[in-house]
Point group: C2
Chain length 333, copies 2
């Protein structure tokens, strides 16, 4: 059995999987918003222990722990290089070795979205496609590319559809660029925008948030606001879809993929109706007559953690992964 | 020896190459602007004969003739599917079989930009890179991608950087979409814009064109106008560079390539100064701290024809090419 950790801007999701990516235990908690990388390591470690307990195994019996972390990863040193959405990981940090040292189990590190795309490719909506673009529409907008049946990594970080330009000179993104897809479509950016709009226009978004005991506009809150006919929610999501359409259309024009697979919290919650809106928006920016198939991701919010659990399992020439043992042969401590 | 044909919006360039892509003969003429596909076939055929004569060989002695044609190609049937820049090829046309029937030599068809990128990869500026983006800045803006050391074709037409969105809702492109890179940066679009500007502002562009006996604003005319301090030329080319920057930056953000190689008539003529402007513009839209190397293409305006001559040479698992013989076993006539 292997554990997989999906370390996101909002939550830490851990699964323990048996053969064939079958989930036999899981645990989750909110990502700590302060305390720096040490607190993130502590919470990752305790969530792994909890998931192992749920699966009825000792942590020491796990073959490996894979961690999918957001942003650029140096898989050779196990370092998270550049991350925008997790407080405390805004500087390079050797997350792989740190977690391995605490757990006493080999740890492999990968980009959170790459592992989720790899999971969809092997066990989800990507089965049967030689090429597809995965778009994870959540707190940020992540992406991954499968080309000729393999994850495309470039120099290590390919697929950043959230930072494709949707509007030159447009809104400032967390990453520092202007006009990125994520600056219009990421849930973080949407919430910031909604707070400003709420001063000028009536919206039920924040009432719904409080009523449901949340301190953020979750995907579920956005869906409920839409269902209630909230115009601020509708307008902001339409703008988000427009930006996603530019990014996806440009990516398809460049890569001529067979399919586009949309996941992430917002993708899942908003479902088929909004998927077809994204498809229409992308069509306006797609050069080819034959547009790709648009599908929702199938592995749900566990997809990232399932994909992370596949890290370091067997030889993976298509995905450079370094495993960190905590024994005397450990490369880094 | 093999012949290669670069069929562009402006010219038909043919080379005859010996081993190692050494050019031993060449010929060129302007692409016919009227008369439909039959006239294009006739002119391609006569230019091949002329190049063969220059190389001192009979056409019948050529091992193959490769044709790089613009737009989407169906390599299985040898059909040009979708082309924007060549008058007479706006409907699907079986160019490969038609040329093979006239010449009596096996003909292979490929996308003009893909073959030029492949030539740069093997013999030009792309040597030594595992991944790069090739941008051909000429009448249109073509592109090709090398990933993991191989040309990326997608479903057959990947790399269309000229039709990545540079400005949502922006200027109408020849392809029918709005705001494409090519609608701002292609020489065709630049000329149309310059004609409109000339009604409002002083410009030497058209005087230079006439003085040099041209009926189009060639890359050389643009360069001379810049040297003469022409403000219309400067403003339009700056806008072109801005659009190229959005497209290239978005492509790099998606693909994380090692290098960007810029060729085409305008790329070559405008040279290193404008290359570094393109690099700066792309940097504004590139997510990664470590941006790729920017280089000029090395094979010049023969690159496309040299690449075309490589079509059908040996087994090419990375580039699906169908060869059309004119003998009894021909698949199509």
């Amino acid at each position: 059995m292997r554990a997989g950790v999906d370390l996101g801007g909002t939550k830490i999701q851990v699964v323990v999987t048996a053969k064939g990516a079958r989930v036999v235990g899981q645990a989750r908690r909110n990502t700590p918003l302060r305390g720096g990388p040490e607190v993130i390591v502590r919470d990752v470690v305790s969530t792994v222990r909890e998931a192992a307990a749920a699966a009825g195994v000792d942590v020491g019996e796990l073959q490996s722990v894979g961690v999918g972390a957001p942003g650029s990863i140096d898989t050779t040193t196990g370092t998270v290089i550049q991350v925008a959405n997790v407080a405390g990981l805004d500087e390079p940090f050797p997350l792989g070795p740190a977690v391995a040292a605490e757990l006493g189990v080999p740890v492999a590190l990968g980009n959170d979205v790459s592992v989720a795309v790899e999971a969809e490719r092997r066990y989800g909506a990507g089965r049967g496609y030689r090429s597809f673009l995965g778009v994870f529409w959540g707190t940020g907008v992540g992406g991954g590319l499968v080309v000729d049946g393999r994850l495309l990594l470039g120099r290590g970080s390919a697929g950043e559809i959230g930072h494709v330009c949707a509007k030159p000179g447009g809104r400032r993104c967390n990453c520092g660029l202007r006009g990125c897809v994520e600056a219009y479509a990421g849930r973080g950016a949407l919430e910031a925008r909604a707070r400003r709009e709420a001063r000028k226009r009536k919206t039920v978004l924040f009432d719904l948030m409080r009523k449901r005991g949340r301190d953020q506009l979750t995907s579920g809150v956005w869906l409920r606001a839409l269902d209630a006919g909230d115009l601020v929610a509708r307008d902001l999501l339409r703008e988000a879809v427009g930006a996603l359409g530019v990014g996806i259309g440009s990516a398809v024009t460049l890569l001529d993929v067979e399919a586009v697979i949309v996941g992430g919290g917002l993708g899942e919650r908003l479902g088929p109706t909004w998927l077809s809106r994204i498809e229409q928006a992308a069509r306006e920016h797609t050069f080819f007559r034959e547009t790709p198939v648009f599908k929702l991701a199938e592995l749900g919010d566990m997809g990232g953690a399932i994909g992370a659990s596949m890290l370091g399992s067997g030889p993976r020439s298509d995905h450079k992964v370094q495993t960190y043992a905590d024994g005397p042969s450990a490369r880094m401590r």
